[in-house]
């Protein structure tokens, strides 16, 4: 989230699209209720199902899953056509005026540079025109046909209300009502907040779904504002933290990146990470990259990371492919190229697409280790559970070690909520039996690996042997010790760069902010964006002062919000070119003539002049990007692509199947189903009574929603002869599930491109362990393909067929 849960109360309009906050994030949704009750805010819900969020909305519009980009680019088109643009904001704070290279084009659904054989783009034409002064060329009059604004205007012109209805199945009158409500927030004194979740990410173009809305929010001037922003409602309690700390194949903590094998040495690695400003006087904060990287290496390897060895650059593994995401890992496993796998609190057998492929893949492992508080299906993938896990244990040679871990109630530490608040929690219970904390387990694994490498030969043991391990009890590192390490400290005294006689941080002291990091090896820091979380003042994540001056919604003394305890990202954009709030009643920060001050920590240098330095300080432009250059694999603008399994051909690009830049493994392409055989558009979803696959282990939740079902419309039920509560079989090209049918008015057929499209809803909470009834779920059915940019599996749009079963209903 750019903003926080509590800030939602400041909005005028909430748009829930790609999520269902009332059911999936109920206690966060209360802030929507607050905004409605106290400010007269309105709520729009756009969803294939009439969800519980929709049931309390001021306006609901149906949409076919997988068509959100057409809908949102249509909204952008509407705003441009009807002059509903926050012009001062767009001209000053976005790259609308920047000129783009002549070679860039978009035709027949493809951007310039497409190579069909590789399913990749040569992105060299997707960039700005650079002037002789080394800066991007701009046209402040917006008259040059090559400026971003005019290219965008042309790009979205195809998404007329008629085309949106044809693609999305949203009736034109309903669509126009949404457009009208959204467009009103182009006023500087109105804001809209976007609340989304996996309904937008789990598509083969998930990143572009979100980007589309971010672009709309920029055009409306709603980023950086109280009650505005792009608010990703993360699914799990600390998935924000696990991503911040870079537990992904291509990341280093704080959104730094693991080198590729083309970056043969540190100098080469840094050569593309200079982040030289693209416009005069801009901060381009990533220019500090080397400070963050070197400080991380010091936290990883301490004294072993020295200038003479490029701070142990060679000890980091080098990537040979863009990423080893979970789909690639399971593909490699399936090919027999992966021997071992460790699952730390994860249940991939139910979480990853194409369950049969997942079972086959796990069966080819030599060993599997699981760490979990609960008995997961993954740990028992080899066990026969009849139709719910139809395997022959004698044919599976995988050695499985299942380790019992503690749960939240028995562990100390911090979790990062959706609003980037790092909140400390304390253990209150004794773990059951022999269950152990994950920190203890990881320390034990490391200790034993280290002992083996001390005793025996082996390749490159040093990175393991010499990991920095500064814990009082090396066998059992404590959470507060690690939290201090993540925050960072001064290895040597840190001096003021403008006055070298002045010591900013004494040797050995905790750092107060990431501005104190150095690139010469004198500071150590595990994750630069968290610096400030555990300072000489103590553990700021444990702060519990819930005061909120003027009830502005910031709660700045509660816990710690990254970065730098900032509660609203890009908050400089809440003020105009003179530094005065666009909406005085919704001030975040303001320029007092010499510096920025207000409710929040300014997201800009405190003395940066408002008419000089742009608000998007992480971008070398200083502005936000409507045209995103080469940053994304599937285009500098979003474009509508159908899901890989779609009931209709793409109306705007009939020859393009799916997202043309999404990675598809060879065998998986053949497993996509066609609409002739699988005519219905299916989607997965979650229920308010359950949390993923955990709460089927919890008696009260298992009682409330005891068994697997699928949800269909009355029309489809009648067409197929399916009775309410009767058994049905749902089939895709990859598998089939048996379920009870729940026939509702919440789902209605849509008319898309002249065709009736029926929707089948498949909730995901059941398996074969726990206290709920055994059941299957959507991953038996879903295709093995992910988003082009970050490989999130396409769970939200796939094709199925459905048929009634004659078995008696129990």
């Amino acid at each position: 989230m750019t903003n926080s849960w509590t800030d939602i109360k400041n909005t005028d309009l909430v748009i829930i699209m790609g999520g269902n906050a009332a059911e999936a994030h109920p206690c966060g949704f209360k802030w929507v209720t607050e905004a409605k009750a106290n400010r007269g805010a309105k709520l729009i819900v756009v969803d294939p199902r009439f969800t519980r969020s929709a049931s309390v909305a001021d306006f609901y519009a149906p949409i076919r899953q997988g068509t959100d980009i057409a809908f949102i680019l249509g909204l952008i088109n509407y705003c441009i056509q009807n002059d509903k643009v926050h012009w001062d904001y767009v001209k000053a704070f976005t790259n609308a005026t920047y000129l783009v290279k002549d070679g860039f084009s978009f035709k027949d659904g493809l951007f310039s540079g497409y190579d069909e054989s590789k399913r990749e783009y040569d992105k060299s034409s997707w960039d700005y025109q650079i002037g002789e002064d080394g800066f991007v060329m701009v046209d402040d009059t917006l008259s040059n046909p090559r400026c971003v604004w005019n290219l965008l205007k042309e790009h979205v012109s195809v998404y007329t209300p008629e085309m949106v209805e044809r693609i999305c199945g949203t009736p034109k009158d309903k669509y126009l009502k949404v457009a009208e409500m959204v467009a009103e927030t182009s006023s500087p004194t109105k804001t809209m907040t976007s609340m989304y979740a996996l309904g937008w990410t789990q598509h083969s173009k998930g990143s572009q779904n979100i980007r589309s809305m971010a672009m709309l929010q920029l055009i409306l001037g709603n980023i950086g504002m109280r009650g505005g922003g792009m608010n990703a409602l993360r699914g799990h309690s600390n998935i924000q933290g696990l991503t911040d700390i870079g537990l992904m194949s291509n990341l280093i903590p704080g959104y730094l990146t693991i080198p590729t094998q083309k970056e043969v040495d540190f100098a080469t690695y840094m050569s593309t990470r200079g982040f030289k400003p693209l416009r005069p006087d801009q901060m381009s904060y990533w220019q500090n990259y080397k400070k963050f990287f070197v400080s991380f290496q010091k936290s990883m390897w301490g004294d072993e990371a020295q200038p003479w060895n490029d701070f142990a650059y060679d000890w980091l593994p080098k990537l040979d492919v863009p990423a080893y995401d979970v789909l690639r890992a399971f593909e490699l496993m399936h090919q027999g190229k992966m021997n071992g796998y460790v699952c730390q609190g994860f249940n991939p057998l139910l979480s990853f697409p194409n369950r049969k492929k997942c079972t086959d893949a796990l069966s080819k492992l030599k060993f599997l280790v699981t760490m979990d508080p609960l008995d997961t299906e993954t740990a028992r993938f080899w066990e026969n559970h009849g139709e719910y896990n139809d395997v022959d244990p004698s044919q599976i040679q995988t050695e499985v070690i299942q380790l019992p871990s503690t749960c939240f109630a028995e562990d100390d530490g911090s979790l990062v909520n959706s609003g980037r608040w790092l909140q400390w929690h304390w253990a209150g219970g004794t773990p059951p039996g022999e269950a152990q904390r994950d920190t203890w387990i990881m320390a034990q694994i490391w200790k034993r690996l280290k002992a083996l490498y001390e005793k025996e030969d082996g390749p490159l043991p040093d990175p393991i042997l010499k990991v920095r391990w500064p814990y009082a009890d090396p066998d059992d590192p404590k959470a507060d010790e690690i939290a201090r390490e993540i925050n960072g400290y001064a290895i040597e005294a840190v001096y003021d760069p403008t006055d070298p006689t002045k010591v900013l941080v004494e040797k050995g002291k905790q750092l107060a902010s990431f501005g104190q990091l150095r690139d010469d090896g004198t500071t150590s820091c595990g994750c630069w964006i968290y610096t400030g979380c555990f300072t000489e003042d103590g553990n700021n994540m444990a702060r519990r002062d819930n005061s909120d001056p003027d009830e502005a919604g910031f709660y700045s003394k509660w816990a710690f919000s990254w970065p730098a305890n900032r509660r609203i990202l890009y908050n400089r954009a809440s003020a105009d070119m003179n530094g005065q709030p666009w909406d005085p009643s919704r001030k975040v920060i303001a320029w007092n003539g010499t510096k920025w001050e207000g409710y929040d920590v300014p997201d800009i240098a405190p003395t940066a002049k408002p008419d000089v330095v742009g608000p998007f300080i992480m971008n070398p432009e200083g502005t936000a990007r409507l045209f995103t250059r080469t940053m994304m694999k599937d285009g500098p603008f979003p474009a509508h692509y159908e899901p890989f399994e779609s009931p209709i051909a793409n109306p705007v690009a009939p020859n393009v199947k799916g997202n043309p830049a999404a990675r598809v493994f060879e065998g998986d392409m053949a497993q996509f189903g066609e609409a002739e055989k699988f005519p219905y558009a299916a989607t997965s979803y979650r229920l308010t009574e359950h949390f993923h696959f955990w709460t089927k282990h919890v008696q009260p939740n298992a009682v409330m929603q005891p068994e697997f079902f699928v949800e269909i419309s009355e029309q489809l039920a009648e067409e197929k002869g399916i009775k309410q509560g009767g058994w049905v079989k749902v089939m895709s090209n990859r598998g089939e599930v048996k379920a009870k049918a729940v026939v509702t008015k919440r789902i209605k057929p849509l008319q898309c491109d002249g065709k009736t499209v029926h929707i089948v809803g498949v909730p995901l909470h059941w398996g074969f362990t726990g206290v709920a009834k055994k059941g299957l779920g959507p991953n038996t059915l879903t295709p093995f393909v992910g988003d082009a940019n970050i490989e999130t599996p396409e769970y939200k749009a796939f094709l199925v067929d459905i048929a009634p079963l004659t078995e008696p209903v129990s």
């Binding site: 109920p26 206690c27 966060g28 990410t201 789990q202 309690s237 600390n238 998935i239 933290g241 537990l247 903590p253 693991i258 990883m300 000890w315 980091l316 593994p317 080098k318 990537l319 080893y324 979970v326 190229k337 992966m338 021997n339 609190g345 030599k366 060993f367 609960l374 070690i401 299942q402 019992p404 749960c407 939240f408 109630a409 100390d412 530490g413 979790l415 909520n417 959706s418 304390w426 022999e434 269950a435 904390r437 994950d438 990881m442 694994i445 690996l449 082996g458 390749p459 393991i464 690690i482 993540i486 444990a542 819930n546 308010t688 955990w694 709460t695 282990h697 919890v698 009260p700 999130t792």
Partner: protein
């Protein structure tokens, strides 16, 4: 650090005080005292309060856990009740149908209590000691790393990677677990490292 005197603690303290002093002060006799004794005591009296956050979604509602026994005093602690934290700015004491049933998650009968191993081809788990399990894991990891570690690629570039074992991190573990995990996993050269951000 921790604002110890929450509204709830205050109320609870006041209640206990009342039971001890007010009855006597108002001059209640034997019958009233016997009646007062017959009333079941407030069940949270004498429990230890610990602040935590709900482990499910990212709203991260504040919760208060009540236990018999106090971990901070080195005692065995059994959690007997969990409820919303009224001091928490986001949830203000409320919990959803999942959070409201957290106690039954903590005490779920399918919580794991012992390390177990399933040998190749076997149709059941058997118990194993922590020592043996961890030794075995280290052995399996080292053997695979030793056999498949790639110090240089075919162009002679130093790549120091291990591609045949993967590590899947969680979604609800702490930042501190995450960082320690990062150090251990990356130091081995593992590349197939991912978390649950996408599902």
């Amino acid at each position: 650090m921790n604002m110890e005197l929450s509204r709830r603690t205050l109320l609870k303290g006041a209640g206990v005080g009342l039971a001890g002093t007010a009855l006597g002060a108002f001059g209640f006799g034997g019958i009233e005292a016997a009646y007062a004794d017959a009333i079941r005591a407030f069940k949270l009296v004498g429990t230890t309060e610990t602040r935590n956050t709900c482990p499910y979604c990212s709203v991260a509602c504040g919760v208060i856990m009540y236990s018999k026994g106090d971990l901070t005093k080195g005692e065995k602690a059994e959690i007997t009740h969990i409820e919303g934290d009224v001091d928490h700015p986001t949830n203000r004491g409320t919990l959803c149908p999942k959070g409201a049933a957290l106690l039954d998650f903590v005490k779920s009968e399918t919580r794991l209590t012992k390390p177990r191993i399933r040998k190749p081809g076997a149709d059941k788990f058997e118990d194993i000691s922590w020592n043996d399990a961890l030794d075995r894991i280290a052995r399996l990891m080292k053997d695979d790393r030793d056999a498949n570690f790639e110090a240089q690629n075919q162009d002679g570039v130093t790549v120091n990677r291990w591609k045949t074992t993967g590590f899947l991190a969680a979604s609800a573990s702490t930042n501190e677990t995450a960082f320690l995990t990062y150090k251990v996993v990356r130091s081995t050269g593992i590349l197939a490292f991912d978390n649950q951000a996408r599902v």
